[in-house]
Amino acid sequence: MNMIEFRDVSYVHRTGTTALSGVSLSIDKGETVAIVGENGAGKTTLVRHINGLLRPTRGSVLVEGKDTRETTAAALSRKVGIAFQNPDHQLFSESVEGEVRFALRNFGFAEDLATRRVDWALNFFELDRYRKSSPLVLSGGEKKRLTLGCILAWDPDVVVLDEPTVGQDALQKEKLGHIFKMLQSTGKTIIIVSHDVEFLWPIQPRLLVMAGGRLVADGEMAEVMSDSATLERARVTRPQLLRLYSGLQRRPERPFLGVDDARTWAEGGR
């Protein structure tokens, strides 16, 4: 089922700069999609159209078949949760706990349910010890986890993460990987904006490549990543396991998705 649809969408800033031009795409319910491309390519502008923060200058954006211009931002944000790249843009409560509770209240969750959701989010993202602290005392990585916790607490159908791995150490990244699996298994539609190709590779999302406000490639990650001209244009590099695979004279049919894959093959699978 079609969850999100962009029909020839262009967006022009008030200053006259074109941030998106002629973007058409559709994302099915339950799909995992990653958007890559150089800084300023229009990735963040694109995802802001999904929850109605921005409305297209030309063309239209549909979420579950409804034009975002005919839906309120409140209704859209219940359905689409976005964790922004810079968490300082969305954290404003006096306490970490209050931050998670804020949206739950706005969306009319009963107090006891809201409390259970807050507890879950703070435990899950290892932020419980900061419960009463101001979000401002958190480190960059912790703030990012808090924004993610806030969104998952209200259980939106579409989860959008803008650069989720920035400032996260290896353990937190691994945990983020598990969170993706969990979200995928519950049928969420997931959209990740990221420069971190090493992190994206094992997830094997459908890959959208943007450059200069346009969508320049859309397909399976391994396939898109084999097109050097597109990667060059979008200033994206290949993940190490794909480079290893491409460098082999004798190689299996499909690229290695993980180190275990590559090891099994190297140790005798050939």
Partner: protein, 285 residues
């Protein structure tokens, strides 16, 4: 590699323990690290391992701006950090933040690059010469009159780095310099670090989670955990050590694969410095 570098010590950290006023435990404890002139050192470790505190101890923010319980000594380029004013330390140690927007704020790139020198009241002619040289080294001469907000993120990072270079520090500290950049721009910043190291002999200490970017140019990798130094050596060696993952280090897939193959008994020559090198080695077998 670090052992082959004859360079004398540029920064010497001895028996360093530091505890912030309200903290229960010290952020760094009993640290002994010598950084050699001309080295590129990666500092890695899980969040909260004490990396940022160590950086602050080297550039003087600790103890000058962040007081606390301080034991041991940090000597940079012959002066004790704790006993030297920040204005003097700033000419020895440069710092580049993760987000260049925290660092550039003037009306033009040129003025931003000159900002530190102005604060030091460097004579006009010398300032001109140093600003021009820094912009040339970073390849941003053409952007001199542009406003920082008109720049791309990669250009902003270059402008911020030019401001640091203009101060002619012997040691530059970079705190996750590439985490906000697209992969290609990140690679460009990495090759700039390599160039400044090679041409000017500047020593670099870089905090970075994405080790695959920096290991090709680094001489050494220091791993911290729980405020202590737990591993220290050439990056390939540290990353091939089976203990490294237990310290929360994200091992690049090439090293992870190499070490697991060797551990299972495969005989491979040398630690590969790239995925392509490992592919050639696997093909050769």
């Amino acid at each position: 590699m670090s052992q082959s570098l004859p360079g004398p010590v540029i920064a010497s950290i001895k028996g360093l323990t530091f505890r912030y006023p309200d903290a229960q435990r010290p952020a760094v404890k009993d640290l002994d690290i010598d950084i050699l002139r001309g080295e590129i050192v990666i500092l890695a470790g899980p969040s909260g391992c004490g990396k940022s505190t160590l950086l602050r101890c080297v550039n003087g923010l600790v103890p000058h701006m962040y007081p606390g319980e301080y034991k041991g000594s940090v000597v940079v380029d012959g002066v004790s950090v704790a006993d030297t004013p920040m204005s003097m330390l700033s000419q020895k140690v440069g710092l580049l933040f993760q987000n260049p927007e925290n660092q550039i704020f003037m009306f033009s790139v040129e003025r931003d690059v000159a900002f530190g020198l102005q604060n030091l009241s460097v004579p006009r002619d010398e300032m001109r010469a140093r600003v021009d040289e820094a912009m040339r080294l970073l390849g941003i001469t053409g952007l001199a009159q542009r406003a920082p907000h008109e720049l791309s993120d990669g250009q902003k990072q270059r402008a911020a780095l030019a401001g640091v270079i203009a101060m002619r520090p012997k040691l530059i500290i970079l705190d996750e310099p590439t985490s906000l950049l697209d992969p290609q721009t990140a690679l460009e910043v990495v090759s700039l670090i390599e160039k400044l190291n090679r041409e000017l002999g500047i020593t670099f200490v870089v905090v970075e989670h994405r080790l695959e970017l920096l290991t090709p140019i680094a001489h050494r990798l220091v791993v911290m955990d729980g405020g202590a130094k737990v591993m220290d050596g050439p990056p390939e060696q540290v990353l091939s050590d089976p203990d490294v993952e237990a310290h929360g280090i994200g091992v690049p897939p090439t090293f992870e694969l190499y070490s697991s193959l060797v551990k299972n008994g495969m005989r491979l020559e040398g630690v590969p410095d790239s995925p392509e090198a490992l592919a050639r080695e696997l093909d050769r077998r």
